[in-house]
Symmetry: C2
Subunit: 534 residues, 2 copies
């Protein structure tokens, strides 16, 4: 693949030899405009990475082959143990599992590198659990827990690389598997970054701690308990969160906040038993229709959420945030082309504008069978899973209450359990609504010195302009770090934007694997004099 690209380039320059000089001048001008120094330390890290890459990838494939769905505690535990082993191999100290007070929940894996004399601490956060999987939906040859490397982005038919320790990996190839990007990539990049700086005799100027969560994809239900319980051990100046994808342009990205997240599950009811659609259709209520009408009522044709008060409490952007957004290359047209659609949901709003708003999204819906499993019946229930995203100012429980009020306004009686016979006789429309525990949004001000220092560190690894985002669209329970530990957080994602996070065919681009290690190493080498938090 690498040599094909090269020969392609040679052909190109031969063919258009007249343009050679012009091209060169343009490239040179661009490089001047975007020139940023790559630090000598990072070049050492790179050299070391190049020597060890294939054995690292081998170790990573083995790590990815371990199922990591939070609903299977035994699997989660095996992952935690594997991370402890990998930490030990890299001489990380005081390795332990941090359990919440509720003993049977997934532990966070902790480790530390205490620097003599250092008065400041950075904690590196990633999570090792993954979203639920449906392996039948993965492309042929791919499987959530049988990780392989494929040539190029995921397609319907993928060419699988016969991986060996001597093969030369192409930067465009992908490592596939659940967690490959979200977020075992974060765990691995941090451990390999630390290995690289240590092997090069580089020493961080402050204490480094590692904190790898085991139930982020389940909504971090015990993170608050763990942070409370280990408050002094986790005291720190900054948390670096590695999760999510970089900007769609492929440029390195620093993000200063995340939206909050909370799930809801809505089930509506028809007849107690499935009915023949000919004998009873249009007489017995159809829950699929009831649910459709309910969901349709939640959003206008302009894509805006119609739930009363839904946008009311969202805080307006600061001037620094507005400025940062204006500087981000808008990915909208590229993404529409790539994703195959023409019109955005909230009409007239760009992607960046949309993620600055609270959102309501249907994750899935189902009523009886479709396709080959369809039969001529009236279903008994219809279910939809919704997720709400919060921005600063909006509270997840309040937003859920607004949605519940909307459901009531549509004529539904809300229950928390299966409806009883008495309820079925009393209410014409019944919805079981489960409003799950969630969390709120958080943003670190862009103009804080510590924020600026992180930007500088990431910028030291690349000649391209780093993209700065006031918030990511996705969610992380960042507010907890601020609330419980009074720590600032900055998110530094490393995955490619087309990583199929949370879905089938999840993958990590080799280039992003490489960049991620260098980025994390740069953050471990931040100059201590700058790590001041106001």
């Amino acid at each position: 693949m690498g040599s094909t690209v090269l020969s392609g380039f040679v052909t190109y320059t031969d063919k258009f030899s007249k343009m050679k000089k012009v091209v060169f001048v343009i490239l040179f001008a661009i490089s001047l405009l975007t020139l940023h120094a790559q630090s000598p330390d990072i070049l050492k890290v790179r050299a070391y990475r190049e020597q060890h890459e294939n054995s690292w990838v081998k170790q990573y494939l083995s790590f990815l082959s371990m199922p990591n769905i939070p609903s299977v505690p035994a699997d989660i535990r095996l992952n935690a143990e594997r991370i402890m082993e990998m930490m030990k191999e890299r001489s990380i100290q005081n390795i332990q599992l941090l359990y919440p007070v509720t003993k049977d929940a997934a532990p966070a894996v902790y480790g530390e590198v205490l620097v003599p004399g250092a008065k400041q601490t950075i904690i590196f956060y990633a999570h090792y659990d993954g979203q639920p999987v449906d392996s039948t939906k993965w492309a042929k040859g791919l499987h959530p827990f049988k990780p392989v490397i494929i040539r190029g982005a995921v397609k319907e038919q993928n060419e699988i690389v016969n991986f060996s320790e001597t093969i030369t990996l192409d930067p465009e190839w992908r490592i596939t598997g659940r967690g490959s990007s979200d977020d075992k990539a974060g765990v691995m990049a941090m451990l390999l970054a630390y290995e690289s700086i240590r092997a090069n005799g580089l020493s961080p100027a402050f204490n480094i701690k590692f904190f790898f969560e085991g139930e982020e994809e389940a909504g971090s239900p015990h993170l608050n308990e763990i942070l409370e319980k280990y408050k002094s051990q986790l005291a720190s100046d900054l948390w670096v969160i590695c999760d999510g994808p970089v900007h769609q342009s492929g440029k390195k990205t620093v993000i200063f906040g995340a939206r909050g997240d909370a799930g809801m599950e809505v089930t509506v009811y028809g007849s107690k038993r499935p009915l023949h659609s000919g004998h009873y259709g249009n007489w017995a209520p159809n829950p699929a229709l009831l649910l459709s009408k309910l969901l349709a009522s939640m959003k206008g044709d302009d894509g805006k959420v119609l739930v009363k008060g839904f946008y009311d409490k969202a805080k307006p952007l600061t001037d620094a945030e507005k400025k940062a957004i204006a500087a981000v290359p808008p990915p909208d047209e590229q993404m529409k082309e790539e994703l195959g659609f023409m019109e955005e949901e909230i009409k007239g709003k760009s992607l960046l504008e949309s993620i600055m708003l609270p959102s309501l999204n249907i994750n899935g819906m189902q009523s009886a069978g479709t396709g080959k499993l369809a039969s001529n019946i009236i279903p008994t229930i219809a279910v939809a899973n919704l997720d709400l995203r919060m921005v600063p100012g909006t509270d997840y429980a309040e937003q859920q209450q607004l949605v519940e009020a909307h459901i009531r306004k549509q004529g539904f009686y809300i229950t928390r359990d299966e409806p009883t016979d008495a309820q079925r006789k009393q209410y014409p429309k019944i919805a079981k609504v489960i409003s799950k525990k969630g969390y709120n949004a958080q943003r670190t001000p862009l103009d804080l010195p510590v924020a600026q220092q992180v930007i500088k560190a990431v910028q030291s690894t690349t000649r391209e302009q780093v993209v700065l985002m006031p918030t990511m669209g996705g969610s992380l329970p960042l507010f907890l770090f601020e609330q419980i530990l009074s720590a600032k957080t900055v998110t530094v994602p490393i995955a490619n934007h087309d990583n199929n996070q949370h879905a089938e065919n999840e993958n990590l681009r080799i280039k992003n694997f490489r960049d991620g290690i260098e980025t994390m190493a740069a953050l471990m080498l931040i100059s201590p004099s700058h790590l001041k938090v106001e």
Copy 2:
């Protein structure tokens, strides 16, 4: 179970001994009002049935254990062969498989009993294929193709009868399994009825032919071909169709028509790959929302179909039909209580009124995963399966076109295949619509002599008033018999109304199994002088 009921009754009469005489007088008055003679021939059939019932049930359980989904031709073939064997055992003649011109489709199983000198012919129709199954949805201990007998109606927990040839079967027990009611019950009742009259030395006064279809649940795609190909062999005066449930009151039922049926499958599209709902939610279009809005637009809050012209061509009811409907005991309140809902879909219309109208029903819908399979994504597609029912006057292809016009009016571009990249760039909303082959409604006039004669025969088996329905809500391709063979059809269902037809936990009540055999026997013994078709 029987003795529990009895002891309950004794307690009741003891407790309210003063009311005993009043109750008796009322019961006597009711019995006088509803008294109908049971013919001596039917009593002979009953005696024979009582002797052989358990070995018949054993044979039926074995028949039900054979998977009979039309999409698996090898299974269908095995069922057809089993029916041929069962016909042979009962000395039915000229047994053969009738194939359509398209050789690989499911065959109809044919057999005949030619009566010397008879100039008239009745053909008995049932079908041996079943609806698709999802065995995971069946109650504990029940399975579509592991038929068992349970005590009483289906519940969440069911007591399974340890069946033997000597056990006494309770009329309220149920035989469970796919096809137990729809429609292997029809096949079995006809074969056992014929065995019973033959064993009693009773001879039909006309030729009897059997025709058991093998792809009714697939929409009878080749029935027309088979009827055309075997036109002379299938020439007849009357087709007796045994399919569907009796009236909800449990009374024996004769039905003079059926609605037509046609399926549609609608798929709407979002992004080409699943997206993280935080990073892209409310910007990338959500197909679950698009589908919800589309489905919601198809019906008003009053439950009426909003597709333009949908009701326009439905023929009004004749006076005889109106009179028959008025005489049917309205099951609405009983059914709402039993099914656990309060309000009908088309507001203010009774069940009987509703099934006199063309209908549009959602059979199932799906987009990504729900419940434990839900993840924080924006789905890529959403699918709904719809079924349309036709009444006399409406044409299925025209009704499908009206629905398609409605989909276009909602802003969708309609395609028949997966949308291409070019289409995705050109149209903001795309729906793949598959309008499947269907068929139209049919009704036999209630006042025809042959119709009256069938009523008389069924009435001869019961002391209760037979329920007469101008049409069933369900569908059968009855129009084909009229169109191709110029034959009249009358439908005589035998299954219990709560048989879970087409769904999980399908079942046949023992009482209905018994009644079905007697009803079919009575129809085989119609007096020849009355079998005149105008």
